[in-house]
């Protein structure tokens, strides 16, 4: 909103520099975005909050200035010289829908001369960004900018029956609005009509057929109050945002309607360009009553944390027009039709505080007052994040939207749909974070950044009965080399066992017991030969593996991508392990290497199981797995190192040899494992 300093000065004295004034207004809640000088005038550009339509005009802004500096406000005089027959005998006004239109004031002017406006009016309008049209249109705009009341001038002789009826439009009625567009109206629209047809879209825009023209002689001036929601809906529906709709949808002042019509009448006759008929045709079916508001001295102090002088409070309330009356414990003020945002005690507290100045209210710190409640799963989350970072995964955050197609491919296919999605690629809430991660990996591959490790802590969204669930997930994405390429290491591509180790490292801090890595239940987008489901008890807590190459190719991923999905809520059902010390062995462990030839169907875990049952078993290391020329087909060679240990005595060679021998025998008899020679 552009405000001319000189126009404000019509109503209040300003002694400060424009910058000082702008700062003071900003600190009172009228934010000045810019100060400009144009055609010798100082123009302030304001960003006014939507609860203050009363300040969206020069008089309103002058009232703020008056309040800040406690200076008198000079309200513009509007004494209209009236002559001729009563206005009511030349035009009639009727409101059919009093809920949507609380008041409609008509003033009738005769012997009107439609001319260009005087230069000073044109200049003010243009500086405020309003195009000058003719004296009547300009006066309505002038009054709007000055007092905030939108008005509209009709050519009275074009109104059928010389009457105004404010009603909802009927089915199939149309209106050619001033912008030259014929609009289809219906019962959802409030229309200003004459005795036959709509002549204006109430509060938004007038009609072309009744507009003021060079030949207009008689004018009906409208000043009304419309319900904000009705105006907003119409403005939105027709995509017509006008100065008038802007004011009405934020709430105009029904008391201002007669004043604005008088102001225009006074100016028109002062310029000798029209004659007002006596009286206003004021249709005001139900007078809007506003009650009193009480302000308690004590609650004012409790709210702000400081007790203000009575004189200060009274001075502020007075200058804002609230006419405070002293009561034993505070004040009683009258509510103002121009300030519908002030209806409660707390609203008055805000008024007093902002004019007094927030800066003058002393800063304090409240007592801590209460012990913080630990956030559920905070420790678990912290641990997870630490491990993710230690494993070298960069944390990313992805959008919560995916397409329903992606949900079908990667999720349940029953993802929660948005009613007004941003785009068809984002039409559902993700029920899986996999597509989000694939997209992030892809982003990097496309930028020739082939070695990717990304992790996302996020949520997925699911409907569950009548409610929604937002389970937390951790998604890992990996692609490229297992280690950054460097001279001292061979280059090796990231693979299944890298990812498995990472998943294990993440789950290791939790006391969830032994993990099982199975193939059953793998979603189809995984390559089933290179992927696993992680099971704890009967709970599936994670899934990981290589994205199926055909699917990767369809998404134009030009290298293997590995994904892990970890259901955090499921993992967190297990407590973090509490560290507990037990005595260290007094003597070192002893090992033997076993070079085994294992039948293909026997998984490593079977061998490990057998080893674990060996007496004095300490641990097992898998040193080498080999399939190739020297190994007969149907077999693989496995080199393991088994460690044995007793807490307080050394194991003799003989005993360890016996353990090793016994283990070999049991591997042979139980699993058909042979010795390699």
């Amino acid at each position: 909103m552009r405000i001319l300093l000189s126009w404000v000065e019509d109503f209040v004295e300003v002694r400060e520099s424009p910058q000082e004034l702008a700062d003071a207004l900003t600190m009172a809640g009228m934010a000045v975005d810019a100060i400009e000088t144009e055609a010798g005038e100082t123009v302030l550009e304001f960003d006014i909050t939507s609860n203050r339509p009363d300040a969206m005009n020069h008089l309103g802004m002058a009232r703020e200035v008056a309040a800040i500096y406690r200076r008198p406000l000079r309200v513009p005089r509007a004494k209209v010289p009236e002559r001729g027959v009563a206005a009511g005998s030349r035009a009639s006004v009727q409101i059919e829908d009093a809920e949507l239109c609380a008041r409609y004031v008509g003033r009738v002017f005769e012997d009107v001369r439609v001319t260009p406006s005087p230069g000073w009016i044109r200049k003010r309008l243009e500086l405020c960004g309003v195009r000058s049209i003719n004296n009547l249109a300009d006066l309505t705009n002038y009054a709007l900018l000055e007092m905030g009341q939108p008005t509209h001038a009709f050519d009275l002789d074009t109104l059928a029956g010389r009457s105004i009826v404010v009603r909802r439009a009927r089915e199939d009625e149309t209106l050619l609005t001033l912008d030259g567009v014929r609009r289809n109206l219906g019962p959802g629209h409030l229309a200003i009509c004459d005795s036959e047809r709509p002549v204006a879209l109430a509060g938004v825009m007038g009609g072309a057929e009744t507009e003021i023209t060079a030949s207009t002689r008689n004018v009906l001036l409208e000043a009304a109050w419309f319900k904000p929601s009705a105006i907003r809906n119409a403005s939105r529906e027709f995509k017509l945002h006008t100065e008038a709709s802007h004011r009405f949808e934020r709430g105009a002042d029904w008391e201002a309607a007669p004043l604005a019509s008088d102001r225009i009448g006074a100016m028109l006759s002062e310029m000798g360009q029209g004659r007002a008929l006596p009286g206003r045709v004021d249709c005001y079916p139900r007078e809007q009553a506003l009650g009193a508001i009480r302000l308690s001295r004590e609650r004012l102090a409790l709210h702000l944390g400081v007790a203000l002088e009575d004189a200060e409070v009274e001075s502020i309330l007075k200058v804002l027009g609230f006419a405070p009356v002293n009561e034993s414990d505070g004040w009683r003020v009258r509510a103002l039709s121009r300030r519908l945002d002030v209806s409660r005690e707390v609203d008055l507290i805000e008024e007093v505080a902002r004019i007094h100045g927030f800066a003058k209210i002393p800063s304090t710190l409240p007592a801590v007052g209460t012990a913080p409640v630990p956030t559920p799963r905070e420790q678990e989350d912290r641990k997870m994040r630490a491990v993710v970072s230690a494993l070298g995964y960069d944390e990313t955050i992805g959008f919560s939207f995916i397409s329903s197609d992606e949900s079908r491919r990667f999720g349940t296919g029953k993802a929660v749909k948005l009613r007004n999605p941003l785009s068809s690629l984002w039409d559902v809430m993700r029920d899986t974070a996999v597509p989000t991660m694939l997209q992030a990996v892809q982003w990097n591959l496309r930028r020739n950044h082939p070695n990717v490790r990304l992790a996302e802590f996020g949520r997925v969204y699911k409907r569950s009965g009548d409610a929604y669930e937002e389970p937390r997930t951790l998604t890992l994405g990996a692609s490229g080399a297992a280690r950054p390429p460097v001279w001292s290491e061979g280059t090796r591509q990231f693979g299944f066992y890298d990812l498995k180790a990472d998943v294990q490292a993440l789950l290791d801090p939790f006391s969830c017991g032994p993990l099982r890595f199975e193939a059953k239940g793998l979603p189809g987008y995984y390559d089933s030969a290179r992927s696993a489901v992680v099971i704890v008890g009967h709970r599936r807590i994670a899934t990981f593996g290589r994205i199926d190459r055909a699917i990767a190719a369809r998404r134009k991923l030009r290298q293997d991508v590995w994904i892990a999905e970890i259901g955090l809520d499921r993992v967190y059902r297990s407590e973090l392990r509490e560290p507990r010390h037990s005595a260290l062995p007094k003597v070192p462990a002893v090992s033997r290497d076993l070079s085994l030839l294992v039948p293909d169907g026997v998984e490593f875990e079977r061998i490990a199981e057998t080893a674990r049952s060996s007496p004095d078993f300490e641990r097992l290391e898998a040193l080498e797995v080999y399939r190739g020329k020297t190994v007969p087909s149907g077999w693989y060679s496995l080199l393991v190192r088994v460690w044995w240990q007793r807490l307080d005595e050394s194991l003799t060679d003989e005993l360890v040899n016996a353990h090793a021998k016994d283990l070999r025998l049991r591997l042979a008899s139980g699993l058909g494992v042979k010795q390699r020679t």
Partner: protein, 358 residues
């Protein structure tokens, strides 16, 4: 028959086939010497050592087992002497070979100290997370509890309970993303205020954070999803002065000790009085620069005293309790703190961007 095989057989058998103890040990020693000399030629030492001196399966152990232990009584002194001699010889030779194998390296040039090692780096902590941790670090000691709350919200908690008038523009599909059943994606973290006030009695000190959504087309300063953080306190004696003091403490700790905050009256449906907080521009210390548009101030958060209607909707008596609340975009805080000029960088997963936050 190879000498290895011979060590596997009892000496008496071998002698039956014409071998003598001296001959057997001579051959064994010759084989050994040849293999040790190969070490000097570059063959790795370890396997040779294991092959000969391995405690269980080494050739000398085998000779000890099959030749010495199995020798007839009368031959034992001879075989024992031969065995010991060879063992001493092997020990010495291998030691020398080990020394020799090491020696050339010692003479080689020092390491190139400028060559990189196999670097491992910590994964990046996302800037939004980092900013969040920074904020929590400030509020935790003040007794604030951290909560997140659901992202899929009801109309009631997101708007109605927060005193939004029913025709407020935010309530519209223009600004809010709705689900098909009328639920919506929370447009701010404030619904949690109401949820927490309903569930717990004052005194309350809470920080709520998480994703929020707006029907905004993505560009450098707008993202349809972003992160908000909101803190609020409800108690019998909370005042506007407390709000000011708490936020001044916060911005000084977050943006630097010389940061000044100024409170400008503003409007939010759920607070009264409402204020926007500007801080002295952290980039120019308030002197005026491009980022603060020469004003010296940057608007960083919105706050106010919790509107009595909101307390009432949450089942609290506004005549007994008062509270304050403040909220801001974590994305924006992170952008200001780390000099990020495009919000969409936050959500692309670009490793080059993330690497700056390792």
């Amino acid at each position: 028959m190879s000498i290895e095989k011979k060590t596997g057989r009892p000496i008496s058998e071998l002698m039956g086939e014409g071998d003598t103890p001296e001959g057997l040990y001579g051959a064994l020693r010759a084989t050994f010497d040849r293999e040790v000399s190969d070490v000097a030629g570059g063959r790795p030492l370890g396997p040779v050592r294991n092959r000969w001196l391995g405690r269980r399966s080494g050739l000398l152990a085998a000779a000890n087992e099959n030749w010495l232990k199995a020798a007839p009584r009368e031959l034992k002194p001879t075989v024992g002497r031969l065995q010991n001699a060879l063992r001493r010889h092997a020990g010495k030779a291998l030691k020398a070979a080990a020394k020799a194998a090491k020696a050339p390296k010692r003479r080689s040039a020092a390491v190139d100290r400028t060559l990189p090692g196999p670097v491992r780096h910590m994964g990046a902590v996302h800037p939004i997370r980092r900013a969040l941790e920074d904020v929590l670090r400030i509020f935790r000691p003040l007794g604030y509890t951290v909560a997140e709350g659901p992202e899929i919200e009801t109309f009631f908690y997101n708007f109605e309970a927060l005193n939004f008038p029913p025709d407020h523009p935010a309530v519209d599909e223009m600004d809010t993303l709705f689900l098909r059943d009328g639920m919506l994606l929370r447009t701010h973290t404030s619904p949690c205020q109401v949820r927490i006030m309903e569930a717990r009695r004052p005194p309350l000190r809470y920080v709520v954070h998480g994703k929020v959504y707006r029907n905004d087309t993505p560009d450098a300063t707008h993202s349809p999803m972003f992160h908000q953080l909101e803190m609020f306190a409800v108690d019998e004696g909370i005042t506007f002065g407390d709000l000011k003091g708490t936020l001044e403490h916060f911005v000084r700790n977050f943006f630097g000790p010389s940061t000044q905050a100024r409170f400008r009256p503003s409007y939010f449906p759920f607070t009264e009085p409402s204020a926007e907080v500007d801080i002295t521009c952290p980039f120019c210390s308030g002197h005026g620069c491009r980022i603060c548009k020469q004003t010296g101030f940057i608007e960083v958060l919105g706050c106010g005293m919790i509107d009595p209607e909101v307390l009432r909707h949450s089942g609290l008596d506004p005549r007994r309790y008062r509270g304050f609340a403040a909220g801001f975009g974590l994305d924006r805080f992170a952008m200001l703190k780390y000099g990020i000029d495009d919000i969409l960088l936050m959500y692309q997963g670009d490793a080059r961007f993330l690497a700056r936050f390792r």
